[in-house]
């Protein structure tokens, strides 16, 4: 048997199970309608989930782009002051950030495509559910057993197939979203580790920047203050293991 015929049969078997399970076929109408509205709600939640994942990828792209720009500025700065090693380090990190950025493009497209599919599926299901509701009321109003049986069977099978279709789209979207979420988290960790430079640090500081500034300014405010402090202070307070332990035990328990 052909593939498409087999799949069509699978859908029909599923619909028939629902029909066979009820004594009064009208019950099937109400039950099915309830399932449909649940399904619609689920699809809307699914759409929101995919959109959230996509937005996160977009945010990461922005951060990576900022990192890359900043690293290039730092590399230029390093070259200006003759620190080629530092410039090389900045460019290496920039390259890594750009690779990650490139990697996000197809991921974002994949999520967008799933999102679009769900939007269309949701609209189609919505229209069908509406049609089903009308049909349901008509059938219930004009109920004569033999007639209703066939009309109910037709409507329920038709909508059941639609729900199966939407359900499959949901599954795929969920799988994709879960994959992307895992990759997104891995990327967040990589960014947080500073391997791609962490431009989101509060003061915008990072080790390359620190190295640049250390080389550059010998008469900056910080250096002057540092010198002053050195002049004022005696030997630095010792941090002995015993002291650390004592202060640890005095600390209030964190709530």
């Amino acid at each position: 048997m052909g593939l498409a015929r087999r799949i069509a049969l699978l859908f029909r078997v599923k619909a028939n199970k629902a029909l066979d399970s009820a004594e009064d076929p009208r019950e099937v109408l109400d039950y099915s309608y309830q399932r449909q509205t649940e399904m619609l709600a689920k699809v809307r939640r699914g759409m929101a989930d995919v959109a959230t994942s996509r937005k996160r990828l977009e945010l990461q792209s922005v951060q990576l782009r900022q990192s890359a720009d900043r690293l290039r500025e730092q590399a230029a700065e390093a070259v200006r002051i003759g620190q080629d090693g530092l410039a090389r380090e900045a460019l290496t990190r920039r390259e890594a950030a750009l690779v990650q950025l490139q990697d996000l493009v197809p991921q974002r497209e994949a999520l967008k495509s799933e999102e679009d599919k769900l939007v269309v599926a949701q609209q189609r299901l919505q229209a069908r559910v509406e049609a089903f509701r009308t049909r349901k009321e008509t059938v219930k109003a004009t109920y004569t057993a033999a007639e209703a049986q066939s009309r109910i069977g037709e409507a329920v099978s038709g909508i059941s197939e639609e729900m199966g279709d939407v359900g499959l789209a949901m599954q795929r979207a969920e799988d994709k979203t879960a994959q992307m979420r895992a990759r997104g988290e891995a990327l967040d960790e990589l960014m947080a580790s500073g391997a791609l430079e962490d431009a989101s640090l509060p003061a915008g500081r990072d080790d390359i920047q620190a190295a640049l500034e250390a080389v550059k300014g010998s008469d900056t405010d910080i250096d002057r203050e540092l010198a002053e402090l050195k002049g004022q202070a005696g030997p630095p307070p010792a941090l002995e293991p015993g002291d650390a332990g004592a202060s640890e035990s005095r600390r209030e328990p964190e709530s």
Binding site: A4, R128, G158
Partner: protein, 92 residues
Amino acid sequence: MIIRILGEGQFDVDDDRIGALNELDDRLGVAVEADDAETFRSTLRDLLDTVRQSGARVPARDLVTSDLVLPDADTSLAEVRALLGDEGLIPG
């Protein structure tokens, strides 16, 4: 004949195309059995093109079952097998 493309909707295709569509569908079935991804992909593409070109969209108010249900173009063989392997996998 009513044909559904998963993720896309239902199409009403003239009866004079049935022979050709069934033939393509049989080839698709053979490709799945043989685990032949290349034939599967190209045959599926032909089938989808035929249905889209010669079929008319079924309006939303018509609640009808399909004679054929086609996976969409980027469905992998593994996904098809998962679908066939267990009817319980069809949600909804």
